[in-house]
């Protein structure tokens, strides 16, 4: 397929990142020429040992093997920062273990909740954008920053359900969150596209209102459509519209993005194949003008 964006490149140099969540040193070796960051999800690389959950030592060791060629960032799904009754202690224990094992450049979580009254939803729901919720999330972001002393980023999630009654707009909520806590943001531009498709979310108005400067990471991904809904099941290559939206952000005068993260579910490696993923990273590296060691002959 011809990519109409193939001749367009971002004016400045950023870095590229991708996901590594299953033990697959061959895959890790394959992506290394293109990426400067590797994202791991503590929840996904966890395994059961007796009745407790711990990190998969094989995955951790394979990551340690490639340091310092890449930097590692942690991206959680299980913290449940917006649960009224407290966030997940199991996730905190996993993150404690990861931080003690691997030097992290930063860590991040989603602006959502996955458990209520100690019961797992097994899905992630968006936060109601109320002042009560903003106060709660700010306090917990401050806790996370105090506990780990490394930058902490919050990410916008896909909303499959219509928005609950809100007191703040999406951008107001994020602006106030970053102003009060000093945390960074991940802007998942594929999620924005899903929201626009599913709920007529107005991306240009959102970006006009949003303070872009705290955005440290952009997430891009390829999902799927089902029953007329665009879903964030990250098992595909990145569409041109997603790349275009990411490039728009990178062109913003306030942009201070450090890395563009091509997110993949572990299942995507089998579904797409390593070669297709390698080709995609190469394409993304060219489009976003990120460093690549593919042709430089640099030994890692």
């Amino acid at each position: 397929m011809t990519n109409p964006l193939a001749t367009r490149q971002s004016g400045s140099t950023h870095t590229l990142c991708t996901t590594y969540d299953t033990y697959d040193p061959e895959f890790l070796e394959m992506v290394l020429p293109y990426v400067q960051y590797i994202e791991v999800t503590p929840d996904t690389i966890a395994r059961a040992l007796d009745d407790r959950i711990t990190l998969n030592a094989s995955i951790i060791n394979s990551l340690l093997d490639v340091l310092p060629s890449v930097k590692v960032i942690a991206h959680g799904v299980g913290l449940s920062i917006g649960s009224y009754d407290g966030f997940s202690k199991a996730y905190i224990a996993l993150l404690d273990e990861l931080v003690a094992t691997i030097p992290l450049a930063w860590h991040s979580e989603h602006l959502g909740y996955v458990q209520i009254n100690g019961e797992n939803l097994n899905t992630m729901l968006a936060l109601p954008r109320t002042k009560e919720m903003l106060d709660l999330v700010c306090a917990r972001v401050n806790y996370m920053q105090d506990r780990y002393k490394i930058p902490f980023l919050m990410e916008n999630i896909v909303r499959l359900l219509p928005d609950a009654p809100a007191e703040l707009s999406d951008a107001q909520f994020l602006n106030e969150l970053t102003r009060r806590t000093g945390c960074g943001l991940i802007l998942d531009v594929y999620n924005l596209e899903c929201d626009a498709h599913n709920h007529h979310f107005d991306i240009p108005s959102f970006l006009d209102e949003l303070d872009i400067s705290p955005v440290k990471e952009i997430h891009i991904a390829g999902g799927t459509e089902y029953k007329g809904f665009k879903l964030d099941i990250h098992t595909n290559l990145v569409s041109d519209s997603t790349i275009d939206l990411a490039l728009q952000l990178l062109d913003h005068p306030s942009c201070q993005v450090e890395t563009i993260n091509y997110e993949l579910l572990p299942e995507a490696v089998d579904l797409l194949g390593q070669e297709a993923i390698g080709n995609e990273l190469k394409r993304l590296s060219q489009l976003f003008n990120t460093p690549s060691h593919e042709f430089a002959g640099i030994s890692r």
Partner: protein
């Protein structure tokens, strides 16, 4: 409505236990019958099916063969606090099946698969599971995707699962028949 009340209601909507009351905000009542909520619940079940199928292949295959796999996963999801980690959820699902199933062959397969997972994880206990059918024939049928047609008799076999056994399990024919 404060956050605690709101999120409690959202949990009820996801788990299909929500019953609207007069003072509930219109948002919750409208969400209850929305296609978006149906989709979220469908995706939850789909992911659980996907994970359980990969973690508990024997029991999943057997339930699928009988056309009841998704029904069991849905029941399990609606009635259980499903752990977010598949290694815990898989064991929990196998326990749920054993507790609720009436068919002895399905019970034996779930008990066997659970014992094998636990022993592989380092469980030092010996597990003894009764089978009405020849376990080798059932396992062969599942692994090679061929029909199982042998007759079964009550507690005709027992399977011992233990870390001390080469291959982790052995089959013993009982003297009941």
């Amino acid at each position: 409505m404060n956050l605690q009340e709101f999120q409690g209601k959202m949990l009820g909507l996801i788990k299909s236990t929500y019953e609207p009351v007069a003072e509930d905000i219109a948002y919750l009542r409208e969400l209850r019958t929305s296609k978006e909520l149906d989709l979220v619940k469908e995706i939850c079940i789909w992911w659980r099916c996907f994970q359980i199928e990969s973690y508990c292949p024997l029991t999943s295959s057997w339930l699928k063969r009988r056309g009841v796999f998704e029904v069991w996963v849905e029941q399990y999801y609606q009635n259980t606090n499903v752990p977010p980690y598949i290694e815990l959820a898989g064991i929990s699902f196998l326990g749920y099946v054993q507790f609720h199933i009436t068919d002895p062959v399905t019970w034996s397969i779930a008990a066997f698969e659970q014992a094998m997972i636990q022993v592989k994880r380092g469980d030092l206990r010996e597990h003894i599971i009764s089978w009405d059918c020849n376990p080798y024939s059932v396992l062969n049928s599942l692994l090679h995707k061929i029909p199982y047609e042998e007759a079964c008799h009550e507690k005709q076999y027992k399977v011992i699962v233990s870390h001390t056994i080469p291959g982790l399990f052995s089959v013993v024919k009982t003297d009941r028949h």
